[in-house]
């Protein structure tokens, strides 16, 4: 063992060591507890998520909770048994609130899950090896419980790997016993870490009050490049930053990490846990815990399963309840009083101290600071504890930050030396919590502000988008209106009407006529084929001529239309179009008039529309006047008049007959009717139209008596039918009804229709 150069550490104290109480016995195996409480959060970070349910059987080493985030750690079952509860359970913490935990009733068999040790870890990739360490649930066993894989994964280059075996706090001997008994495993673990990190040198720092441990580790490291360094006993040389300073002379920058200066520090217990995980495949389910204090009959170190209730371990060590003053988790300098002994051992519980009242007397009441400055001399972090005290009391957060409160490692050296017994560390802890809370609040406020502003921006954009759409719609409507006003010919409605009325009208009519003539011809030809008579032949001949004429007329019309495709719209469509335009203008004006508070543009628009409407109405009136004296086509006039005359004559005759006029009066009327009929026939002949096919039948009205007889017969028939349908009708009535019908028919037959 060579003696490399050591650097001095600022401050430090020499409290009474009291290690001999527990370091004489080898590490013992306490009995398997009947019930284990395995907290989900045993490391710094987010608690794990349970993977098992209540009632699930578990095996020793089985993963029962998985890491909740990238830096989190899983939790494994410390023994085989059954999960009996998942929920808040007591937890080893200064404030004593319950924490989520999985409770396992052991089955006493302590059966392992099949283990998968990786024999040759050197063939594994760095990531695989880190995943292995992480999956084994290894957190720093020195006390803080920082996830080891996360610490090893720091990107920066590590020049020096420091293995912390200093164990400077009084009473605690867990690492001492571990180094004495498991030096080979320790060195194997360090080899794995060295393989992972590739440091230039590995320093194993052990305080010189543990000569046996130094001896055992020195023996084990023989043949390796690792160096065991004996460091002078001084509290708190076991602090990470302090040990680094002693061994390398490098100071970790304020607010920085050891990795920033190329150093990484791991506890000896952690190294053994890494060995177990990589070479044996065992997850971290137990740790060496010191059971010590005057209140115990058999102080010792035990390998306690994680989750073992503290009271079980104290009973194993022979706790004398009457002598117990305070029960601490951790050492006397940095540990905390435990409220509930039912709380379990967790991965960071390195010591249980059951002290008698004489051993650890209650702190005397704090006196005012006398500014002696002893605390500043004792501070291993070179802080100014009394200044920090004043700022903490005055809640001067800026000054606390300026005086590097967060570099305080809460070792308690200042409070130990304070002649006024001021609980300095408690003040710093409270101030740190306050600062953290304030920073947290600030971060939350900033987050809320960003979210609020993002929301405001989103709402504003949505509103702007809506407004833009609204404007686009309004503009489109405006353009449409403008286009309409400028080029009315473009109006689809007007175009349609022009097409319908102007161009197609005549041709359409001719087409219909031609096709009708054709159909009539076909029909007649069919009849001719069936009965060949001269009359039919003549008829077919006429029809064929008519059809040909119709087709000719149609051809002519179509040719004319083709010759002048853009036929000027006739008077009638013009009229219609202007009427439509006027109606649309009126509707628009109505709409604008209904607007509340029209702006200038709208008022101007209204004015323009009104003028347009005036023009349109004037045009309309002019066109209507033009159109009125031009009634239907002239040639058909005579025909119509003749028809009207015939109808008048017929009506006159009918009226005269009804009033019971005698034949002398009727005769001239009848003659006039015949005359009118002949005039109609003449007109029809003159009209040039094909003669109507039908023959007029002169339907002379029936006389009053005849109508009475017919009515009588109808009544009689109806009565008879009614009686026949009625099953309850008497036969006499039926006979009478039949007789009545017969009489009526006789009467009708006797008086034939007079023509």
């Amino acid at each position: 063992m060579s003696m490399p150069k050591l650097w001095p550490m600022p401050g430090g104290i020499h409290p009474s060591e009291r290690k001999a109480l527990s370091n004489r016995e080898p590490i013992a195996q306490p009995p398997l507890p009947a019930r284990l409480i395995v907290p989900l959060g045993q490391h710094i970070g987010v608690p794990a998520r349970p993977l098992v349910g209540v009632g699930a059987p578990v095996l020793k080493g089985q993963k029962i909770a998985e890491a909740a985030d990238a830096r989190g750690l899983p939790v494994h079952a410390p023994t085989s048994g059954t999960v009996v509860a998942i929920g808040p359970q007591s937890y080893p913490h200064a404030s004593g609130p319950p924490a989520e935990a999985i409770v396992i009733d052991s089955d006493g068999l302590d059966r392992w899950v099949p283990l998968a040790p990786s024999g040759d870890y050197r063939s594994l990739s760095r990531e695989a090896l880190l995943a292995l360490i992480r999956d084994a649930g290894i957190a720093g066993l020195g006390g803080a419980g920082f996830p080891t894989a996360a610490k090893l994964a720091t990107g920066s280059r590590i020049a020096t790997l420091v293995i912390n075996g200093a164990e400077c706090e009084p009473y605690i001997t867990a690492d001492d016993r571990l180094m004495r008994e498991r030096a080979r495993e320790l060195v194997a673990g360090i080899e794995i870490l060295a393989h992972l990190l590739g440091p230039e040198r590995v320093l194993i720092g052990i305080e010189d009050n543990k000569p046996e441990a130094i001896g055992a580790v020195s023996e084990a490291v023989a043949g390796t490049p690792f160096m065991v360094v004996s460091v002078p006993t001084l509290y708190p040389s076991g602090g990470e930053k302090q040990l680094i300073q002693i061994l390398t002379g490098l100071e970790v920058p304020s607010g920085g990490l050891p990795a920033d200066i190329g150093v990484l520090c791991q506890n000896v217990g952690t190294c053994v846990a890494v060995h177990d995980a990589v070479l044996l495949g065992r997850p971290l389910i137990s740790r060496i815990t010191t059971l010590t204090g005057e209140a115990l009959q058999r102080p010792m170190n035990v390998e306690a399963l994680v989750g073992t209730p503290i009271k079980d371990l104290l009973a194993f060590a022979g706790l004398d309840e009457r002598r117990l003053g305070r029960l601490l988790v951790g050492g006397p300098m940095m540990g905390f009083s435990l409220a509930d002994a039912a709380a379990p051992v967790i991965k960071t519980s390195n010591c249980l101290l059951a002290a008698t009242p004489e051993e650890l007397p209650a702190p005397p009441p704090a006196m005012p600071c006398i500014r002696c400055g002893d605390c500043a001399e004792a501070c291993p972090a070179s802080l100014l504890p009394q200044q920090l005290l004043f700022y903490a009391q005055g809640e001067d957060h800026e000054q606390l930050q300026a005086h590097n409160l967060f570099d305080c490692i809460e070792c308690g050296a200042c409070a130990y030396v304070c002649p006024s017994s001021i609980p300095l560390v408690q003040h710093y802890r409270a101030a740190k919590a306050q600062l953290r809370e304030q920073a947290d609040r600030q971060a939350r406020a900033e987050q809320a502000r960003l979210r609020f502003e993002a929301r405001q921006e989103r709402l504003r954009q949505a509103e702007a988008r809506k407004e833009a759409e609204r404007q686009a719609r309004a503009e489109k409507a405006e353009r449409m209106r403008a286009a309409q006003a400028e080029a009315p010919a473009d109006d689809p409605l007007a175009r349609l009407q022009a097409k319908k009325a102007g161009v197609g009208d005549e041709v359409k009519k001719l087409k219909i006529e031609a096709s009708m003539a054709q159909v009539a011809l076909k029909k007649a030809e069919k009849q001719l084929a069936a009965h060949d008579t001269p009359e039919l032949q003549a008829q077919v001949e006429t029809l064929r001529r008519a059809a040909e004429q119709a087709r000719q007329a149609l051809d002519e019309a179509q040719a004319k239309q083709a010759a002048e495709p853009a036929a000027t719209p006739t008077a009638a469509p013009d009229l219609k179009k202007i009427k439509i335009e006027a109606a649309m203008l009126r509707a628009q004006i109505g709409k604008l008039e209904r607007l509340e508070l029209p702006d200038n543009a709208e008022r101007a628009e209204l004015e323009r529309l009104r003028t347009a409407l005036g023009t349109a109405e004037a045009q309309l009136r002019a066109l209507e006047e033009q159109a009125q004296p031009a009634p239907a086509a002239a040639p058909n006039d005579d025909l119509k008049r003749a028809k009207i005359a015939l109808a008048l004559k017929r009506a006159e005759l009918k009226k005269a007959e009804k009033t019971g006029a005698d034949d002398e009066e009727l005769a001239p009327l009848r003659a006039a009717l015949v005359e009118a009929e002949q005039a109609l026939h003449r007109a029809e002949a003159a009209s040039g139209r094909p003669a109507p096919e039908h023959v007029l039948i002169d339907k002379r009205p029936v006389s009053a008596e005849e109508r009475a007889r017919k009515t009588e017969r109808a009544y009689a028939r109806a009565e008879l039918h009614k009686l026949e349908r009625d099953p309850a009708a008497s036969p006499e009535a039926l006979v009478a009804a039949r007789e009545r019908l017969a009489r009526a028919e006789q009467a009708l037959a006797a008086q034939p229709l007079d023509s």
């Binding site: 937890y91 609130p97 924490a99 408690q426 502000r449």
Partner: protein, 191 residues
Amino acid sequence: MSVVIIGIGVLLALCLACGAILGFAAVRFRVQGDPVAERINALLPQTQCGQCGYPGCKPYAEAIAGGDRINKCPPGGEATIQALADLLDVEPEPLDAEGGEKPPMVAFIRETECIGCTKCIQACPVDAIVGAARQMHTVIAAECTGCDLCVEPCPVDCIDMIEVGRDLQGWAWERPLPPGRLIASDAERAA
């Protein structure tokens, strides 16, 4: 005599030059927004709750910069009033709120009762409520500022404001009694 004229001329030229520089600087290096309001806004808790009578923290910050009182923010409490008093160099005033200072709260939707009306989503100033029409809504507790603006619009009253408890992660050591105090009073013991 000429010395006086030269002196006046030199001073005049100097004044004009300086004025031109200042005028240019005032335009060129003009600070956008109100820097005082920005600093005040940074001290406000950003719950956007509107309990001060302004629609959000920024409008209140602008109002304070314009001379409004600094004691209208119940979520910020005494700490905010103190910080504002320090910043603006005015006397701190007692909080002007009915219920006084309130502990931090978080909204909680009783999900079985939610009818999915989205009214609370529209009310939330920090978009901390997720859900859709006729779907159950829920609060993202980490983003909730506890402003309770969502409580009033809920037609079925299924939103509770719950006090944010302290878990192990948020646990903090208590401040010891100040040195020199030998006897703790009953009130201090009870606290």
